[in-house]
């Protein structure tokens, strides 16, 4: 089985979010970048397929040279090969087109993406890749097993979960549950050393149009100070009469 894991290079979850250039660009100053958490759960599940079922695992990212440390980290975790598509990730559709091209050319059986990236929260790339390459698609996937060309997936639905049977080629939008938090791997020294010599292929982009264009960013209006209350009666009163929440 050939697996392609799509990796988004995102600001660490603790990052302070600021914008520059007249609020048109994300301010990367002082920001630590990581593998998108939803993608990391998928990558770790891919490692399980590699170790238990002999799968080969490639990782791919759409972005400039500054995203390579994130791909190297994926290699240090255990991916066999990395691909960087050398163009800025602009909108969801154009990124999906780049990834679909790699997925098609490489003949992957399983493409793993994250439910959403924690920066732009678009949540559309895996579903678009699936449609563009004519593969089946499972979103918010929390468990996946593959047997030959058959797959069983569990997806999270509002208020529960659903078990699905489908077949390869398959694309998933993964999240926590594919593996547990405690299964995530911190690269060890050996992994880091090996990652330096594993292939990281830079591929030039194919033509892809965009469908959306972000004009500006803004931050939420500053919040008023918390109202501290001393008694339960006062809290109930405020929630009922002032906030009208109960």
């Amino acid at each position: 089985m050939k697996i392609l894991v799509c990796i988004s290079h995102v600001p660490d979850t603790t990052s302070k979010i600021n914008f520059t250039d007249g609020d048109t660009k994300f301010d990367t100053n002082g920001v630590q970048f990581v593998i998108n958490p939803n993608d990391e759960f998928g990558l770790t599940r891919a490692m399980w397929f590699k170790e238990k079922q002999g799968a080969t695992v490639h990782v791919v990212n759409v972005g400039g040279p500054e995203t390579e440390p994130t791909l190297r980290k994926a290699l240090a975790i255990g991916a066999d090969e990395a691909i960087r598509i050398n163009t800025a990730a602009t909108d969801g559709f154009s990124v999906a087109k780049q990834l679909a091209n790699v997925a098609k050319e490489g003949g992957y059986d399983l493409v793993i993406g994250g439910r959403e990236s924690i920066d732009y929260n678009g949540g559309m790339v895996p579903g678009m890749v699936a449609k563009l390459i004519g593969a089946n698609f499972v979103n918010t996937c929390i468990h996946l097993e593959v047997d030959g060309d058959k797959a069983t997936a569990i997806r999270e639905i509002d208020g529960g979960k659903e078990t699905l049977k489908t077949s390869l080629p398959l694309v998933i939008g993964g999240q926590k549950g594919l593996v547990e938090e405690s299964d995530l791997r911190i690269p060890n020294m050996r992994g880091i050393m090996q990652a330096r010599t594993k292939p990281l292929n830079v591929k030039e982009p194919v033509d892809a149009n965009t469908e959306t264009s972000t004009v500006s960013f803004e931050k939420p209006a500053p919040k008023g100070a918390v109202k501290l209350v001393d008694s339960v009666d006062e809290l109930i009163n405020l929630l009922h009469n002032e906030a009208k929440a109960i």
């Binding site: 089946n136 529960g160 906030a243």
Partner: protein
């Protein structure tokens, strides 16, 4: 024409469907056009006119009793084409988010999710949506001929707009590829309120010291008709199921009221619950970061406050019933 997909569950329209119609009517008024709703296997669509739909396309097909992203996207896409829709309104439900990218590719339509208000302009078509997990907003232009927007939960609300709606049966052409996926089983709690649908969410953190202390949290949720949730460490330690974990890598919460008990308020947690309207924190540490994010706060021991709150809320509910 604005097309809105009105979701139902077991034949009953969901509240988010009515919010979606309200929003679609808002765009229709901006653009001087009307709203058509498409409902799949809903028993009674008469309510849709009340929120502004002029036409309801009713799809009845036993093969669509269980959600199927590919097939549902085909139904909505074909309805959009037959109606000549320029804008399609979806919600932020798990099913809307599942089918949206497929629909977008089918119609070569640009898609923006998590939209928080009506478009600031319809030509060019510009919408404001939340990004960086509620830490910021982006203003994004959709440049394609057909536009798809997914509205954030609780961001627009229900707006009544009495319209006389006509109803038509609609049949989509579906083929075998639409059913390459088979739903084997659905495991859904029917007796509890889900985090996605809840108006009120009651959430517990590490400050509760152990899973055996959740009785008072469940009681509070029961009194308020709320869903229960928890912080990431609580789910990581196995005190509560993963499905209750809310925050950046867990479930997002956009309820009317969010009550955090014994949760310090890590930045990832706050990001995930930030879209809630009213936030209450109960914590014994006055320095807990949650106090900076909350609207109302009580400093003190949860093991004293929560039982008293439950008792007084029961009295309050009895008086206001």
């Amino acid at each position: 024409m604005i097309l809105v997909y009105t979701e139902s569950e077991e034949g009953k329209l969901k509240k988010i469907a009515l919010e979606a119609v309200s929003y679609a009517k808002g765009i229709a008024d901006q653009m001087g056009t009307s709203v058509t709703a498409v409902a799949i296997n809903a028993n009674d669509t008469s309510e849709l006119g009340k929120y502004g739909a002029s036409k309801v396309l009713e799809v009845s097909d036993d093969k669509l009793n269980k959600f199927n992203g590919e097939a549902y996207a085909d139904v909505i896409g074909q309805a959009a084409k037959s109606e000549g829709a320029k804008v399609i309104v979806l919600t932020s439900s798990a099913n809307s988010k599942f089918l949206a990218p497929t629909l977008a590719v089918n119609l070569e339509a640009g898609f923006v999710p998590n939209v928080v208000e009506l478009p600031s302009s319809t030509s060019p078509f510009k919408v404001k949506h939340s990004v960086f997990t509620n830490k910021a907003f982006a203003n994004t232009e959709i440049t394609t001929d057909i536009k798809i927007v997914g509205i954030g939960k609780n961001s627009y609300g229900l707006k009544e707009n009495e319209t006389s709606a006509t109803t038509e049966a609609f049949t989509a052409n579906l083929d075998a590829h639409d059913f390459d996926m088979e739903v084997v089983s659905v495991d859904k709690a029917t007796d509890t309120v889900t985090i996605a649908d809840a108006e009120i969410v009651v959430s517990g953190g590490r400050g509760l010291k152990g899973p055996e202390n959740w009785g008072m949290i469940e009681e509070l949720a029961g009194i308020l008709g709320a869903a229960t949730a928890c912080s990431k460490p609580v789910s990581d330690m196995g005190w509560r199921p993963h499905s209750e974990h809310v925050g950046q890598t867990g479930k997002p919460v956009a309820s009317n009221l969010y009550i955090a008990i014994g949760i310090s308020g890590a930045i990832q947690h706050l990001a995930g619950i930030n879209a809630s309207k009213v936030k209450v924190v109960i914590n014994n540490d006055p320095e807990a970061p949650f106090f900076k994010a909350a609207d109302y706060g009580m400093v003190g021991d949860a093991f004293e406050i929560v039982p008293e709150l439950n008792k007084k809320l029961k009295e309050f509910k009895a008086q206001n019933a």
